[in-house]
Amino acid sequence: MSVVCELAAPFVANSAVDGGEVMRPFRVHATTCLKCQARHVAMVRIARQLAAMEGDRMSAPLDLEWRVMSSLEGDLALASSWRRPLAWTAAIVSMAAAVLIWRQRPRPVS
């Protein structure tokens, strides 16, 4: 196997997957080299199988839905636009409560 075949390998693979020609420096070699042509044919088959794999489905773990839904317990479905104002309101209210408590602390009679 020549060094040129090795250098051309990724370009041959890309050409097989994308359907275009092999990039210029390796084009002549790829059209005359039996090894590269065999690789091209193999890669076309591989590309077809890879594309067909999109339709394959692995079964998700049986408890996945339960795990997801139980994680959402207590998770409010708030629109993102509401989250920030709500966080600010909560912060202001808790600050006001803290100031109120602080002001009503028992003070020494002077």
Binding site: P10, A13, I46, L50, E54, G55, M58, A60
Partner: protein
């Protein structure tokens, strides 16, 4: 007499109705969406991270993130496409987390070839079945970064720009990775033939 409605269109309408309800906080509607898409999400997660346990965690986190981000989903793309993006981002986050804690299980996995694929498809026969088995094992042996690019480009048909965007790399880097991954895939398959 009117023609019967196209089942995929009916499904799409039903799904957009479920999405609209879930966006308003209807958990039952979201549960139905989870049931409909969990296999797709898990399959992509498994292909990206390899390890089944990690893939399960990625799928769980993806669906939780999806629930939280659902109000932002405007329906410009299909829900499954949007979920794929969330899955890729989540897998990426998990990968970075795993790298930080090092004992990353991302590259030591061998079970993917034995995963329960849908064997009802007509193409699952003889030579093709064997080729797919070898292909899955070869994919599995690719370094994680290269595998992700091949999975997204050659299996899911994403563009280089989409891959680069979701992985936080440049388009050139995505092309180079794909270049290397394909070359490695061909060599690995030749060696295993």
């Amino acid at each position: 007499m009117s023609n019967p409605p196209d089942p995929s269109q009916v499904e799409g309408e039903r799904e957009s109705e479920l999405v609209a309800r879930a966006q308003k906080g209807d958990r039952a509607a979201f549960a139905a969406l989870v049931r409909a898409h969990q296999d797709e999400v898990y399959t992509l997660a498994r292909r990206l991270v390899g390890d089944p346990h990690l893939a399960s965690d990625v799928a769980q986190e993806t669906l939780i993130r999806a629930w939280r981000a659902l109000p932002k989903f405007r329906g410009d793309s299909k829900l499954s496409t949007w979920l794929y993006r969330v899955t890729v981002n989540t897998a990426w986050t998990h990968k970075k987390r795993a790298a930080r804690h090092r004992a990353s299980p991302i590259d030591d996995h061998t079970e993917i070839a034995a995963a329960p694929y849908d064997a009802g498809a007509p193409e699952f026969a003889g030579e093709i079945l064997e080729l797919r088995g070898r292909l899955r094992r070869s994919l599995d042996r690719l370094p994680a970064a290269q595998r992700e690019v091949v999975v997204l480009k050659d299996i899911y048909g994403w563009s280089h720009a989409e891959i680069a965007d979701s992985m936080g790399i440049t388009v050139t880097a995505a092309k180079v990775r794909l270049h290397r991954a394909r070359a490695r895939l061909v060599k690995d398959l030749e060696a295993s033939a």
